[in-house]
Structures are given as structure tokens and as C-alpha cells.
């Protein structure tokens, strides 16, 4: 006898195959076709920008892209940034795989040069917009012989120190001019005990090198003179002028907050913004973060002795190139031409506070701190980060070693002499003039 089937738990749900199978297949095919069409449509007038400036996303979406579209209607632009530490490697992979965006934000010097040498970037000499840049501005994105330029210069950043004006007033402090004054100031804050003297952490390592070492160092190795001597093989990192910079850094390490070795970059930003620290080693890009959150001002890296010439790290930081495999090169060139315009220079310098346009358009800087930092160019000689040109080319990567070594010097785990010896030995391993 056949038993009556009890309704199963799922019996109320209308069964899927009730839809005729053929129609289902047709629907699927249609759906696929439509997505394909949609994708094709998106590609036509769209430009995608690759960048490591995650913080700038709102700015691009709300200010820069709309401004571009006013003069170039019909072109949609998408700003699609990757975290700074990932950018170089993931971009290289995407360029090689043919999935990178049309426009590519360029790091200065060797990182972009290697992309150009591998044939990922267009040659830009003579393209509209490039005429507004002086040779010095373009140097960061040229082949060694200066014949090919592959990225349009966008902006530079300047390094120095920010200080909390309220704390300075409370403790009756003045921005220091010399190393001795600086340490006296830090001692005063430390003795007071209420605030961290120097707000910085070493957990992420990069700030130790890019923000602090390359900011305080040029005063010792005399900026370009010292940097070029390294490239020419006439100076070594173990020479006194370089060791002195690490020495200075080691001394600064004693004024970091408790637990600095586990403190991240955003921890430091937070801490300074909350008024818990007196001095903050800064890049000019930090201005935008602190604006409106607190009262602060800036001073350039103090010189070793009264009357010494001063040097600032004024680093060509960001450029823009065109992906050779872009499907939309005409629009990309239009965009680049706009990047070279007065309008962009003005918008970028004044809206992306702390990035200084490299074009020779005349721009008035509105932000007081940005203006102050840009003003240092008048009295101090500019130099770029010490290892960014040529010195980063070999294995071991000097940039990665510098991060590690500087973080250790700040943590008091490595002596300045050992730091110098380690960098020099890695350098000499692959660089002929140093052998």
C-alpha cells in the first residue's frame, strides 16, 4: 500500500523548475548579454585614475572631477585609489596584467621609471599641458638622460615639524631654530609631564624614514650636495655627515610617546589632533588632516648650529601618467591637458592643502600653514628624499632597509653607526661607484 506522503518542510516553497527551463536559460543569456553591453558602455567615455592618495577620494569626487567635467562634458572620471603601502606593487601587477586604469598617479623617480622602461607608460614630451613645467619639476619623471618624460608633474610635499600653539603658549615655548634649542624645548615638555614631547610612532616604519629622517637629515649632509655625492660615489653613508643625522634621530627617539613602537601613523595623527603632544614631525600633506581640528603652526627642521645654512625636504611627490594599454587615450590626454592648466594648479594647491603644484602658473596659497611651509623655499635650499633617485634601484631595496633601520634607531634598538653601516653595505652590494 502506498503511504500518503507528508508535506515536507520545503513543500510550500514554489519549486524552482516550474519555470520552463528554456525560458530560464534564455533569461540567463539575456542577463549575461546585458551586463556585457553595460560593461562595454561604461568603457567608452570613462577614465579611471589609479592613485595611492586614499585621503583625496572625496576631493576628487566633489571638486576636481566636476571641475574637469565643466570644460569637458561627456567624459566620466573615476578616482580609484589603493592604500599607499600596496600601491606600487599592486599597480605593477595590474599594469602587467592589463587591468590597470587609464591614468596612473606616478611616484617620483625609480618606481615610475621602471614602469616606463617596461613599456607601461606613454611618452609625454610635447603633449598639451607639459609646457607649463620647468625642467626641475619634470626631473622626477624622466629617463636618466632627460630625453623622455613619462609623467606630468602634479605636486610636491615639504617636510618639517608642526607644533601645538596652545601647548607652546602654556609652557612659554618658542619654535626652535637650532638643534640645541630643539632639545631644550623637548626637555621642557618632557619635564612638564602633561604632554608627549614628540608625537610619532614606529609601528608602520615608513614615517621614521620618509617623514623624519629625510626631513632632519639634509641639514647635515647639505641637501643636494650630499645626495649627489652619494650617487657619484664620493660620499658614503658611513661618513660623519650621514651618521650625524642618525645620531640626531636617535636622540629624538627618547622623546617619543610611551609605547611608540606599537603606535601607528593614524594613532599619531589622532594623538596630536587631540592635543596630547607638543611637536609632530610632519609632511605638508598632514595639514589638511589637522585643519579645523586644532591650532597649530609649523617650523622647518632646526639647523645644527646657529647660522648654518638650512635645507628642506621639498620632494617631487606625485605625477600623472597614461597607461599605454588604455582604451581611452584621447580622453586621457584631454584630462592631462587639464591637469597642466592654471585651474587645476589652483584647485589642487588650495584644496589638497599641503600639496604644492609644480607648474609655473602663478598661484596664491590660501592656507596659512601651507603658505608658511612654501615660504621656507625662500630661505632654505630644497632637496628631495635622499634615496629616491637611483639609490633605490638595486637589491636589497634601500627604501625598505631605510624604513627598518630608522624605526630601529628611533626605538633605540640600533646604534647610528650600525644603521649607517647596514645601509652602506646594502648599497655597496649593487652600486658600482660605491664599491
Amino acid at each position: 500500500m502506498q503511504t500518503e506522503q507528508k508535506p515536507g518542510r520545503f513543500s510550500r516553497i514554489p519549486s524552482f523548475p516550474s519555470l520552463p527551463r528554456r525560458r530560464l536559460l534564455a533569461a540567463c543569456a539575456l542577463a549575461f548579454g546585458l551586463t556585457g553591453l553595460a560593461a562595454a558602455h561604461v568603457q567608452a567615455g570613462t577614465l579611471t585614475i589609479e592613485s595611492w592618495r586614499v585621503d583625496d577620494l572625496p576631493l576628487w569626487q566633489e571638486v576636481l572631477i566636476p571641475a574637469f567635467q565643466r570644460s569637458n562634458p561627456g567624459i566620466t572620471v573615476k578616482f580609484s585609489p589603493t592604500a599607499p603601502t600596496e600601491y606600487d606593487s599592486s599597480l605593477a601587477a595590474r599594469l602587467a596584467g592589463g587591468t590597470a586604469g587609464d591614468l596612473v598617479a606616478c611616484r617620483p623617480f625609480d618606481v615610475s621609471l621602471s614602469l616606463y622602461n617596461k613599456g607601461h607608460l606613454e611618452k609625454l614630451d610635447g603633449k598639451p599641458g607639459m609646457e607649463f613645467f620647468a625642467p626641475a619639476a619634470k626631473a622626477a619623471w624622466q629617463t636618466d638622460d632627460g630625453k623622455d618624460t613619462f609623467c606630468m608633474p602634479m605636486a610636491s610635499v615639504i617636510h618639517g615639524f608642526f607644533y601645538n600653539t596652545k601647548i607652546f603658549k602654556e609652557l612659554n615655548l618658542e619654535p626652535p631654530k637650532t638643534e640645541a634649542e630643539f632639545f631644550k624645548l623637548l626637555d621642557t615638555v618632557k619635564a612638564n609631564g602633561k604632554y608627549a614631547p614628540l608625537v610619532m610612532g614606529t609601528a608602520e616604519q615608513w614615517e621614521s624614514h620618509q617623514v623624519l629622517f629625510t626631513s632632519i637629515g639634509p641639514n647635515y649632509w647639505k641637501g643636494e650636495e650630499g645626495r649627489k655625492a652619494l650617487i657619484a660615489g664620493k660620499a658614503r653613508f658611513t661618513d660623519p655627515q650621514f651618521v650625524a643625522a642618525w645620531d640626531y634621530e636617535a636622540r629624538l627617539g627618547k622623546y617619543l610617546p610611551k609605547g611608540a613602537s606599537a603606535q601607528t601613523y593614524s594613532d599619531s595623527q589622532n594623538m596630536f589632533a587631540l592635543g596630547k603632544g607638543a611637536v609632530y614631525p610632519a609632511g605638508s600633506w598632514d595639514i589638511a588632516y589637522f585643519n579645523g581640528k586644532m591650532d597649530f603652526a609649523a617650523f622647518p627642521p632646526p639647523v645644527p648650529k646657529n647660522g648654518d645654512a638650512c635645507y628642506i625636504s621639498d620632494h617631487n611627490d606625485i605625477g600623472m601618467g597614461i597607461n599605454k594599454k588604455s582604451k581611452n587615450k584621447d580622453d586621457a590626454y584631454k584630462f592631462l591637458a587639464w591637469l597642466g592648466s592654471q585651474e587645476f594648479a589652483d584647485l589642487y594647491t588650495n584644496k589638497v592643502t599641503g600639496f604644492f603644484s609644480l607648474s609655473n602658473h602663478l598661484i596664491s596659497v590660501k592656507d596659512p600653514i601651507a603658505k608658511q611651509m612654501m615660504g621656507w623655499r625662500k630661505n632654505c635650499a630644497s632637496t628631495i628624499r635622499v634615496n629616491s633617485q637611483i639609490l633605490n634601484r638595486g637589491t636589497p631595496s634601500m627604501e625598505n632597509e631605510m624604513w627598518n633601520v630608522n624605526a630601529q634607531v628611533l626605538n633605540g634598538k640600533m646604534s647610528p653607526q650600525d644603521a649607517a653601516a647596514k645601509i652602506q653595505s646594502g648599497f655597496a652590494k649593487w652600486y658600482k661607484p660605491q664599491q
Partner: protein
Amino acid sequence: MKTIRAWQLAVLLAPAVLIYALFSALPLLDTLRLGFYTANDAGVRSFVGLDNYRTILFDPDWSAAFWNAMWNNVKFFCIHMALQNPIGLLLASLFSLKGLRGARTYRTLIFLPTLLSVVIIGFIWQLILSPLWGVSEKLLGFVGLADWFAPWLGQESTALVTLSLISVWQYVGIPMMLIYAALLAVPEEVLEAAHAEGASAMRIFWQIKLPLIYPTLGLVTILTFVANFNAFDLIYSVKGALAGPNYASDLLGTYFYRTFFGYQAQIGSPTMGAAVATLMFLVILGGVGAYFVLVQRRLTRYAM
């Protein structure tokens, strides 16, 4: 009884073989092959034989980093073996006790971190342990241990151990569940017989339950081994690919990542990366092989 014909066998096996070959075996073989090549600036590859391996194992720069990562990986694995699996066993035995109140709730709570993304786990612990904002210093203060607090994630001496403990905390649910399932499968009659013979609970555990779950313990060991030597995500989300400070938390996984994809200014090299991946593969293969020869064979004999 019908015999299965050869073509039927082929048809039935085809989907699995195809998918496995396409997505697992071929990429692996290609990785092994890629390790023998090098690429110049223009991306043109040429055969170099064992040169990449020679560089990794004998060039002072590369080998120091490689052996450091390897040694850290061994420590990472040992901490897991010493803590995660015994704790898993302990918890599973507790939960398999009859009449334990709230067992289900505890079981769920302990298993919960396993379900969370590693990135979230890393972030949570980074916050908890942060010397600036973290709660750990205050919590230690309540029991008078505030002086013992240190930025554990930021010190060379403690970073790796701290990360291992975080990982143990996250994954202890897996051995617990596996062992728990195995304990439930121990036949009731055997236990009752032992009980009737007058064996104590301890004796029942050590002499009956434990030997019966040896195969599961073996499985847990090998899973831990493979997972630990492939570990990457936790270190990466907490310390970044440079695995600081001074590479104190560098594992083979992060070393491989830096080599293959590059990091910051270091340009990645797929060919060197493939060589590192091959070495990792060999380590795991060796470990699993040794396990099969030394442990698994004996286990099956016991089980028979």
C-alpha cells in the same frame, strides 16, 4: 552485478579531475616551472636553472631573511601545537561531559572568533593592545599589573608571540569542534563496560577515549601544520608586509608576499616569488610526508 566500464569511470571522474587539474595542479606545476626562470627589466623571461634557489638559500641578504622567516614560522607552529591543540582537547573533553550547564553557549562563544575575518581580528587586537587607546593597560591595572604592560605588538621580543597567541585565540574553535565530534563518536558501550569494570573517569579518558581519537588528533596536527606554514593574513593585517619590528614577525607567507608582489619601493619578482613558493611547498610536502610515514601508518594499524 554490473561491472563499471572504463569510459563510465572516465566520465564520472572527469569533472573532479578537470577542475582539480585546472585550478590546482596546473598552477602548482607552473609555479614550480616559473621558479627556474628569471625576468629582465622588459619582462622577458629566460631559463636560469637553480639560480633563484641558490640566491634564496645562499646569498647573504636573501638567505638571512629566508631563514629568519622559516625560524619564525617554526616558532609560530610550535606555539600553536603547544597551546591551540591541547586547549582544544581540554575544551572538547569538558563539553563532552554529560550535564555540563551552558555547554552550548560556551561552545558557540569559543567558536565564534573562528568565523570572523582575520582582518577584523587583527584590528580588534591592535586596538585592545594599543598603548595609546587600548584597554589592556587599564584592565591589567585593576589587578595591579599595570607595570607589566608593554607595547607587545611593537617589540621585537614579543611581537611574534603576541600574534601567535591572537591566532591561537581565534582558531582554537576548530580543533575543539573536530575533537568534540570525535569524542561523541566513541561508542557508548565501550565506555559503559569500562565504567562497569570500575575504571575511573581519568583512566577512561587516558586509556580509552584518547587512543580512539588519535586519528583526529593527527588530523588536527596536520591541519595546523599546513595552515601555519601558509599563514600570512594575520601578520599582514596587523604588521604589514614588512612584518616589523625588524622582521621579528616575518613568516614565510609575508616573505613570499614581499618577494612576489613587492612592497613599497621593492619591485616584486614573480620568478623569485615562485621559487620561494616552491620552497614553502617543499616544506609543507616534507612535513605532511613525514607525518604520513611516521604517524599516520601506525595510527591506521591501531585503528584496525
